[in-house]
């Protein structure tokens, strides 16, 4: 029980560190990659929480996390990323 919770805290720390990439960029794709990381890592956190808190229904929420990370990524790649933002130089 405590191990799963400790790992959930560790993964949450990972997420917070990944926010640095959202802030730094440099291209729009880099910022969105951090959001995709939130999808995978978030569903892992939810799986661990479902075990630690004894709530199996959290598994469904993890399923939705994994699904919506995909929808966001596809919407970004197909519709949103047309031009570089003025302050983002491509590298």
């Amino acid at each position: 029980m405590t191990l799963t919770f400790a790992l959930a805290i560790f993964l949450l720390l990972n997420l917070i560190v990944a926010l640095v990439r959202v802030a730094r960029g440099p291209t729009p794709a880099d910022r969105l990659l951090a959001a995709l990381l939130f999808g995978t890592t978030g569903s892992a956190i939810l799986l661990l929480l479902a075990e630690a808190m004894g709530q199996p229904s959290l598994l469904d929420t993890a399923l939705v996390f994994a699904l919506l990370a995909a929808i966001t990524g596809v919407a970004f790649a197909r519709r949103a990323w047309r031009e570089e933002a003025p302050d983002d130089e491509p590298r």
């Binding site: 191990l3 799963t4 790992l7 560790f10 993964l11 990972n14 560190v17 990944a18 640095v20 990439r21 291209t27 794709a29 880099d30 969105l32 990659l33 951090a34 995709l36 990381l37 999808g39 995978t40 890592t41 569903s43 892992a44 799986l47 661990l48 075990e51 199996p56 598994l59 469904d60 993890a62 399923l63 994994a66 699904l67 990370a69 995909a70 990524g73 596809v74 970004f76 790649a77 197909r78 990323w81 570089e84 491509p90 590298r91």
Partner: protein, 103 residues
């Protein structure tokens, strides 16, 4: 504590280590393609290991099948999104990083 539970705990810790590797890659790698690579591979392997670890703790078949389904969905999703973003980045003319480019 039984052997299966010990093995499950070890798998959970290994999965968290892979997530850590993915985050380090996202922060330290030099361009979009390498970051995408770190994110897609390391994180999905980490999720897979965590799913395996939780399978050994799982109370019943229904929970286990749902766990495996979550992993398969995450795999398909990250493969699709990784391909789309890399292709779009290439169309935008972002050159892949080469050794000696700095950073």
């Amino acid at each position: 504590m039984s052997l299966a539970e010990l093995l499950g705990d070890a798998l959970l810790v290994a999965g968290a280590a892979f997530f850590f590797a993915g985050t380090v890659g996202l922060l330290r790698f030099p361009d979009v393609y390498t970051r995408l690579h770190a994110l897609a591979k390391a994180d999905n392997l980490g999720l897979g290991l965590i799913v395996l670890g939780l399978l050994l703790h799982a109370p019943g078949w229904a929970t286990g099948i749902k766990l495996v389904l979550i992993w398969l969905l995450a795999l398909a999703a990250s493969a699709t999104v990784g391909f789309l973003i890399a292709r779009r980045a290439r169309r935008h003319g972002i050159a892949p990083w080469r050794a000696g480019d700095g950073e």
